[in-house]
Symmetry: D2
Subunit: 136 residues, 4 copies
Amino acid sequence: MVHTYNHNVHYYETDKMGVTHHSNYIRFMEETRIDFMERIGYGYYRMEEEGVGSPVMAITCDYKKPSTYPDIVTVELQVLEMRPLKISFCYTMKVGETVVCTATSLHCFIDSDGRPVKYQERYPELAEKLREYLKA
Amino acid sequence: MVHTYNHNVHYYETDKMGVTHHSNYIRFMEETRIDFMERIGYGYYRMEEEGVGSPVMAITCDYKKPSTYPDIVTVELQVLEMRPLKISFCYTMKVGETVVCTATSLHCFIDSDGRPVKYQERYPELAEKLREYLKA
Amino acid sequence: MVHTYNHNVHYYETDKMGVTHHSNYIRFMEETRIDFMERIGYGYYRMEEEGVGSPVMAITCDYKKPSTYPDIVTVELQVLEMRPLKISFCYTMKVGETVVCTATSLHCFIDSDGRPVKYQERYPELAEKLREYLKA
Amino acid sequence: MVHTYNHNVHYYETDKMGVTHHSNYIRFMEETRIDFMERIGYGYYRMEEEGVGSPVMAITCDYKKPSTYPDIVTVELQVLEMRPLKISFCYTMKVGETVVCTATSLHCFIDSDGRPVKYQERYPELAEKLREYLKA
């Protein structure tokens, strides 16, 4: 499965080249990821309640084509890999049918003491949901 | 007295009009204010130690001329008014001799319980310093 | 009439106080204004085609209560005043029923040579639409 | 050789986790790169005069440790690889002696028609300067 999220490019997200500044795609990825976690039932409030955070460990971003205001960037998220302590997501961002950016992000889960969490063991239902979005 | 602070406009602060996006001047004001408080001896760490915050209550901003990357925006800060529970600052932002923006900000001081602080009574030395920068 | 626009506060719009950074409200206002112009038929492409821009001349912003991720900020826009060469908008931003911010913005219209445009004369239909949103 | 650039983390660059939002490191990289190009004599104005742009094609970013306001992030830039049509830079970002982020960026050079430029042939002096900063 693929999780899809739309971001309307805002005027203030463009730069003097007339295109979306490349740093903003990192923010579109975060919006999409947060929206995805909400969708599968492990949104912000629930994770906070559980005392579990999931910081960004690494990012890759390949810029294919520019986008600009007032484009709608459609972000398609899939789970790229699930390891005991880490998870990675991949993102394909499109304007219409044109791919403007592909990207990945790597995350861990940590508890309130900063210790890494074996999320698949502690949250088997979350792991099951995530597996549905695993990239083939 | 006048407190002066320089902000180098960054490429990512411009928009597709080719100029500094107007929302960024609000950030230049914050940078200047924080730099000013540091200069007069009541910087971030000290205020945090004292358990005192000073949220922004209001902003006004008059955009006179555009600026852009790679301009240096020189911000001149003065204290506009000191009331028992509130303080306001005024800002003149220039590129070279050209005024690009004039602005004001209004703040209160609150303790860790969110209660307003009579800052002139509690911090007479701070009040004295602030008075040196009062606009004539 | 009132034009209403929703902005979902993003995680990256918060600051270390745990609330929406105050500079972002200026951006919510722009989003709302652009959405409004689109709604009344004078959106970005049309204005660009007409060779008419409408820069921000001034902003005022009164911060009433904090908002934070993942609040939805509902922005209510009205036309505050229509002068021959200038127009001002007012904004009431709410989270649920709580007003978090009230604001105004002042604009002019300029043609591609940078000359001010008497927008009510040149675009009578636009003026008529704008009048429908005039604050009583 | 290594090009060094300092970025003072601003309050508005933090998020509600209390740390520098990860998207901002992409901006620190741009600031450093622009500062570097200026230093070696091929700054913004000169490149614009030459009609040559150098868009970002790809980014990688490894987040090692958090930084926050009011840290000073010191960015060390080196040239990672020089190909006929592409160039990559690598960045080590530190707070004091602690590495907070390592990153790379990939760029091409294009002329005003959008055609790729063999920068080492067209600008042999630039190529020579760049080689001085090649990572061993």
